[in-house]
């Protein structure tokens, strides 16, 4: 039988809207939702079919039968595995209290459900992967605008100039945003790209700055200096909504274009020409404040500087600028209900909210658990449930993590794939792929807010379950039915939609429900109350930071250069993979089975390395190393060695990706504790590694 459903992609966390065709329970076609994306889909989106049919994913619940990480598993029924997890959780709760259980996830629109589960269980310790991603940007936005990083979105299509600091959008891929950017370029708009290496985004740019690693902040300061000097800012907007502008003017005096050019290793005249362009294009210049800015010790301040540039442009709540994403209430409509449960009044195990008061308490900071776990301070952590979060390939130094995880009596991985954490865990609860599962309804804010959901295209191929089923069934065993009372997804949808007046049938036509048929902008003269800062204004100088003993306007400190024989490790994304989630995908691993090491031509010459030669990359303490091919290029900074993230995995059941390439995370020895005290993110680009030509390049032949 032929079937067509609208759903949401699950190959990366963008979750593009899709339409899926199937025949006799086999997926035959996936395309971008024609109503929103006109069919467009990326390679990963199409490779969802390969994920679905992949036999190298967990096919039924597994319970560990050997030592942790040994890869010895016993197949279990769902009842057996869920009973096992529930019994352990109950025993831990009795002995150590509910707070000794941590639940981490990747985040995303359904994280409320995971959070509700752990809160209902009695633990405040919900966390997510954001300490290795957007926390610095998030906290930077909170400190200035009083709203998190999702508190603004970008009307790129109508902008005249988009400025990206290391945001390699044509590799990270958000299809709608990418098309907006290309439309803007076609209309004659400009794209300025800043990075330590050239990327596909930089290759599409009208201006490219290859900067010294760790000098994004310096560049942003230099631009602010010139923008202020030339009075390229919106005086009216600043007078109406902004505090701290005087302090900024005093502070920025020292960061001249000549100074900036020297710090960043760029030409002063290029910087000045760039500011000329800003002068022409303002106010429709968008300075993207960064996505994954868990990079340098000053990434939080770099992101603040980018936010400040937007404020100077006065580009907020206007066409071609930043806008506040609108929800149901902005359309005069009632919102959906979602599974929720308040946070228990217990101190968090990561210190956020009592030791660190300037951070968002929502998901806390995952990396701050580990040291506390070792010290059992403020209390022991005895179980870690990872919901599609691969700690061990997403966060630095998995060996250090495992020392702390060894303090746990229970490690559970809920995931569609085997993950490095899952491989080390005690129980794997296999989640159905996104093509095989329904999910609760979510609200997608924007200029035209929507309600959306994921619908299963086919029945599960293996003995797997949807995330909501797993949590509901665990909840039933732990007496948490009050939070998870739903027996079927239809029942859950009906309850979610009840206040809205919509029914699930309203999603049939297009796969989503549009809450407004036109773009909603607030009155730009009445934005008071939209900024959640203590003063209600956009605060360039933040009292909250002050109270935490942090400065708002931090002087730039030049990053250290690598020692002899070492290079700074820089990682990035590629369009055909979603980090380690897809490196074993049958179709995507064929496109890109491994990574290489990008080395600057000058450095390569010193190392005697040419493109294609094997090089050995070792961690600072030589406890981890890998051998990969070199890619020699002028278009990576001489201080850096660049690798794509997500490789170097060591999961024997994933034969395609096993030992393929180098893992950046495994090279980051001791870096779990190297984090941005102001922004909370881990400093993932403050890692130096040894690089040398491998002995394996020999052409000599000894074997017959």
């Amino acid at each position: 039988m032929k079937k067509s459903v609208y759903s949401m992609c699950g190959m990366c966390t963008v979750r593009c809207p899709i339409r899926v065709e199937s025949e006799d329970n086999q997926v035959t076609w996936i395309e971008g939702n024609p109503h929103l994306l006109a069919g467009a889909l990326c390679a990963k989106g199409t490779a969802g079919i390969a994920l679905l049919n992949d036999s190298q994913r967990p096919q039924q619940p597994l319970i560990r039968a050997g030592a942790r990480g040994s890869g010895r598993w016993r197949e279990a029924t769902w009842d057996e595995a869920l009973d096992y997890v529930a019994d352990k959780l109950k025993a831990i709760k009795n002995q150590y209290g509910p707070e000794s259980v941590v639940l981490s996830s990747r985040g995303g629109p359904w994280q409320g459900m995971y959070k509700a589960f752990i809160h209902a269980f009695g633990s405040p310790n919900y966390t997510n992967h954001d300490c290795t991603c957007g926390r610095n940007t998030h906290h930077a936005s909170l400190s200035i605008n009083g709203v998190g990083r999702k508190g603004f979105a970008y009307d790129i299509k109508n902008a005249k100039h988009l400025v990206l600091f290391g945001r390699d959008m044509f590799s990270a891929l958000r299809i709608a945003e990418n098309n907006q950017t290309l439309d803007m370029l076609e209309k004659g708009g400009r794209l300025t790209y800043v990075d330590v290496r050239q990327t596909m985004t930089g290759a599409k740019a009208t201006r490219f700055f290859q900067v010294r690693p760790g000098t994004d902040y310096a560049l942003a300061l230099g631009v602010i200096h010139e923008v202020i000097k030339r009075e390229y800012y919106d005086k009216g907007f600043i007078a109406q909504y902004v505090t701290g502008f005087e302090e900024l003017c005093d502070f920025i005096e020292q960061y001249t274009p000549a100074w900036t050019a020297k710090q960043c290793g760029i030409k002063e005249k290029d910087l000045l020409a760039f500011v000329d362009e800003i002068g022409e294009d303002r106010p429709s210049v968008i300075f993207h404040p960064g996505w994954n800015l868990a990079r340098y010790q000053d990434s939080f301040y770099a992101s603040r500087a980018m936010h400040i540039l937007n404020v100077l442009m006065g580009n907020i709540e206007m066409k071609g600028g930043l806008f506040i994403p609108k929800g149901a209430s902005d359309c005069g409509k009632a919102g959906i209900r979602s599974i929720d449960c308040g946070k228990p009044d217990i101190r968090r195990g990561d210190g956020v909210g009592w030791k660190y008061n300037h951070f968002d308490k929502g998901p806390g900071l995952a990396h701050l658990f580990f040291e506390n776990m070792l010290k059992e301070d403020p209390y022991p952590i005895k179980a870690w449930i990872a919901m599609r979060h691969d700690l061990c390939s997403g966060m630095p130094d998995p060996q250090a993590q495992k020392l702390a995880l060894d303090k746990c009596d229970l490690l559970v991985s809920i995931d569609t794939n085997y993950s490095e954490f899952g491989w080390y865990s005690d129980v794997i609860l296999p989640e159905s792929t996104y093509l095989e599962r329904d999910t609760p309804i979510v609200q997608q804010k924007g200029l035209k807010p929507r309600l959306s959901l994921r619908r299963k295209a086919v029945e599960p191929k293996y003995d797997t379950k949807a995330n909501w089923e797993i949590f509901t069934e665990l909840a039933a065993r732990l007496d948490l039915e009050e939070t998870f009372p739903f027996k079927s997804i239809e029942e859950l949808w009906a309850w979610q939609l009840e206040p809205t007046g919509y029914t699930i049938a309203d999603f049939e036509e297009k796969g989503f429900v549009e809450l407004s048929d036109k773009d909603i902008f607030y009155d730009r003269d009445k934005l008071d109350g939209k900024f959640g800062t203590p003063s209600g204004k956009i605060e360039i100088v933040s009292e909250k930071l002050d109270q935490a003993g942090l400065v708002s306007l931090k002087p730039f400190e030049a990053p250290p250069a690598p020692e002899k024989g070492m290079l700074r490790l820089i990682y990035g994304k590629v369009a055909v993979h979603t980090q380690g989630h897809t490196t074993n995908n049958p179709m995507l691993s064929e496109l890109m089975p491994t990574n290489t090491a990008w080395i600057n031509t000058r450095q390569a010459k010193k190392l005697g390395v040419e493109t294609g030669d094997l090089v050995e990359i070792s961690s600072s303490d030589h406890s981890y190393n890998a051998t990969v091919e070199a890619l020699v290029t002028d278009h990576v900074h001489p201080e850096a060695v660049f690798v794509y993230h997500g490789f170097g995995k060591e999961i024997p059941r994933q034969t395609r990706s096993l030992h393929a390439g180098v893992s950046d995370q495994k090279l980051m020895i001791g870096k779990l504790d190297d984090w941005d005290q102001a922004g909370g993110g881990i400093n993932l680009c403050q890692v130096f590694v040894h690089v040398k030509k491998s002995i394996r390049n020999t052409k000599r032949r000894v074997e017959l």
Partner: protein, 150 residues
């Protein structure tokens, strides 16, 4: 009569390799054969920005295809609209077409041992749809050009 061409707007293309996979998935191809490929030239500075030239290649659907007469079983067929395709029923997998084609376009499908090549997604065209690579191109950089000939 109609003739079809696929055109890449290389200013829009971001070399995401989506089209290669869209094609493979639509044709249900295993690891090995690709019927279209995206190629990027090494980065070279143009006006201060390192740029790459991106090209999309697939079967040229030649007007006088060398692959067609080379086939001993008449499995390689040229339709009236110029589409050159493999009739899998007749193909014996000898790959004479591959040797005859100046670009070695036909490839062997390891699942079936038969030749396989771009057929402009003629089943989709005949159903009023666009080829898989065009329909799903991430950035709408690929376009189907239809030439009306007398």
């Amino acid at each position: 009569m109609k003739k079809y061409m696929i055109h890449l707007n290389s200013r829009r293309c971001i070399a995401c390799h989506g089209c290669e996979v869209h094609c493979k998935a639509n044709k249900n191809l295993p690891v090995g054969p690709f019927l279209c490929t995206i190629h990027c030239t090494p980065l070279q500075k143009v006006g201060g920005v390192p740029k790459t030239e991106i090209t999309f290649s697939h079967c040229r659907h030649c007007e006088d295809p060398l692959c067609v007469p080379a086939c001993p079983t008449n499995a390689m067929i040229q339709r009236d609209d110029g589409i050159v395709y493999v009739d899998a029923e007749k193909c014996i997998g000898c790959m004479a077409c591959q040797k005859a084609c100046p670009w070695e376009i036909p490839v062997q499908n390891p699942d079936t041992d038969k030749a396989v090549k771009c057929d402009m997604c003629m089943d989709r065209l005949d159903a009023g749809l666009k080829p898989a690579c065009v329909t799903k191109c991430t950035t709408h950089a690929l376009k189907l050009v239809t030439l009306e000939c007398a």
